[in-house]
């Protein structure tokens, strides 16, 4: 019985919290509507396309391949990203690099964003710091699956 009254009290408390939020927010909404713009806003919402929240420093956005000074990718096609990728969305094909000190480079490097889960493991695994997720591009919707297949040149273009 005591327990039941406790539940009832909790119900009342919960309703009080939401009601308070409703009344306070409505109060400020109304004040701003009639012209008191400098008071605090009634909502914490960012009006997204117009107002953009700055991305956190560690935010994982669209991948890019880091280029060497000559424009070729740093990637040496070690396939560690392919190995670690839990979505199995990376495909790399190695080729011989013209620079004998580099030897190996990625001929094909494709990320299927339709599969990618943006876990960032590829960035962690990369021994060459060749792949990063710091482009800040977060609007990645596309009209076809093919548009979501980012190949080497598209990934390099973000440098």
């Amino acid at each position: 019985m005591v327990k039941a009254w406790g539940y009832l009290w909790a119900l009342v408390k919960g309703a009080a919290v939401t009601t308070r939020h409703f009344i306070v927010n409505m109060w400020f909404h109304t004040l701003r509507l009639v012209g008191f713009k400098r008071l605090r806003a009634g909502a914490v919402t960012f009006q997204y396309p117009e107002v953009r929240k700055p991305l956190a420093a560690r935010h994982r956005s669209l991948h890019r391949l880091v280029a060497r000074p000559d424009g070729r990718p740093r990637c040496v096609a070690c396939l560690l990203c392919v190995t670690v990728c839990p979505s199995e969305c990376i495909f790399v094909e190695a080729e011989e690099d013209p620079d004998p000190d580099v030897q190996k480079t990625a001929g094909r490097f494709e990320i299927d964003l339709a599969r990618c889960s943006f876990c960032g493991f590829c960035v962690e695994a990369c021994p060459e710091d060749a792949i990063r997720m710091d482009t800040g591009t977060i609007e990645l919707a596309a009209r076809s699956r093919a548009d979501l297949l980012f190949d080497r040149d598209r990934l390099l273009r973000r440098n």
Partner: protein
């Protein structure tokens, strides 16, 4: 002839009021939930750049639902699958006919009740129609031939039938106090005062009955915290196989049930169209003053009072829906059978004792 015309006008107005309120209740639901969660809510729907706090959102929703594919799964029972949302919708829609919107008015020498029809069993009629709405749920789950939908409708049927009992019991005390089951009589009875100052509303005569009815009625609307039949987000409800406008009908039924419950609460427990201390000739203040008002003004005030009460209870139900988490199924059944029904019986007993004194 003029009777038929009057009836048609009344039906048109009542149904129009009902549907417009339903439409905007969806907007209110979105906005109210947003405001109490520190958000803004749907505000993008616009006509020629005119946004008006997203007031056009219901139209955008309606257009979207109309243009969606009207889909019947290959394995479903075509006829019943199509019929089910209409059954749900119809039985809720007809309940509004028995709600008194205001006192009788005299037009051209004839007395016209602001009510579509006023049977002597008005209250029973409303309860009966609400109960029949269960068929829509059962039919939809059954006709979908989807085991998850069927489980949802089984949960729905069990829940609604359980709470139907509590709903009925909570009203028996009220019926014992009130002189009649006719809705207009019930409202008129609540016109006076008790102890000289308190309006003679059902809530003051039957406080426990009100609490029980409110909880049971919330369960009847099958929304959070009693949304086990639907549980869109995780447990999959009876309309899993519905889309487009048929799904929209189920959703509208939900919102219409909110309005019906609000109207019932207002009518049975909060004096319907009665304004405290307002009689046909004006206010009679409990401290002895008298404030005479024109007849038409009184009618307007009374109609507005009913609207205000309905809107308030709609707001309250939405607040509840966005405050509490869903009950577990056993908790739901416990609350229905082990709390509401015994308390309902106790209420009847207490009412009987008080009345026989």
């Amino acid at each position: 002839m003029s009777d038929v015309l009057t009836a048609l006008i009344k039906i048109f107005v009542a149904l129009g009021w009902f549907l417009v309120l339903t439409l905007y209740l969806t907007w209110v639901e979105r906005k109210e939930s947003a405001v109490l969660q520190d958000r803004i809510g749907a505000n993008r729907a616009s006509i020629f750049g005119l946004r008006l706090f997203g007031l056009f959102q219901p139209f955008a929703d309606a257009i979207k639902m109309i243009f969606k594919e009207d889909f019947v799964p290959a394995f479903a029972d075509k006829v019943l699958h199509t019929l089910a949302p209409f059954v749900s919708f119809f039985f809720v829609a007809v309940t509004i006919a028995a709600m008194p919107f205001g006192d009788d008015i005299v037009v051209g020498g004839k007395t016209v009740g602001l009510q579509v029809f006023d049977p002597s069993v008005g209250l029973l009629y409303v309860l009966a129609m609400l109960s029949l709405g269960i068929y829509g749920i059962i039919l939809s789950g059954w006709a979908s031939r989807n085991r998850f939908a069927l489980l949802g409708s089984a949960r729905g049927a069990a829940q609604l039938i359980s709470y139907e009992v509590a709903l009925g019991l909570s009203l028996i005390g009220l019926i014992m106090v009130f002189p009649s089951l006719r809705m207009s009589d019930i409202v008129r009875f609540q016109g006076g005062t008790i102890l000289g100052f308190l309006p003679r509303w059902g809530v003051f005569l039957q406080p426990l009955g009100f609490a029980l009815f409110f909880v049971a009625a919330l369960a009847e609307t099958k929304r959070v915290p009693f949304d086990l039949p639907e549980g869109e987000s995780e447990i999959i409800g009876f309309f899993a196989e519905y889309g487009g406008l048929k799904w929209g009908l189920f959703m509208m039924t939900d919102f219409m049930e909110i309005i019906v419950v609000s109207a019932l609460l207002a009518t049975l427990f909060f004096g319907g169209w009665q304004v405290p201390w307002l009689a046909a000739d004006g206010f009679h203040w409990p401290w002895g003053g008298h404030w005479a008002l024109a007849r038409w003004l009184v009618v307007v005030l009374q109609v507005l009072a009913f609207q205000a009460k309905v809107v308030f209870f709609c707001w309250l139900q939405i607040l509840i829906r966005w405050t509490y988490p869903r009950l577990r199924y056993d908790q739901l059944m416990d609350l229905g059978w082990k709390v509401l029904i015994p308390l309902g019986l106790l209420n009847i007993l207490a009412t009987g004792l008080v009345m026989s004194l």
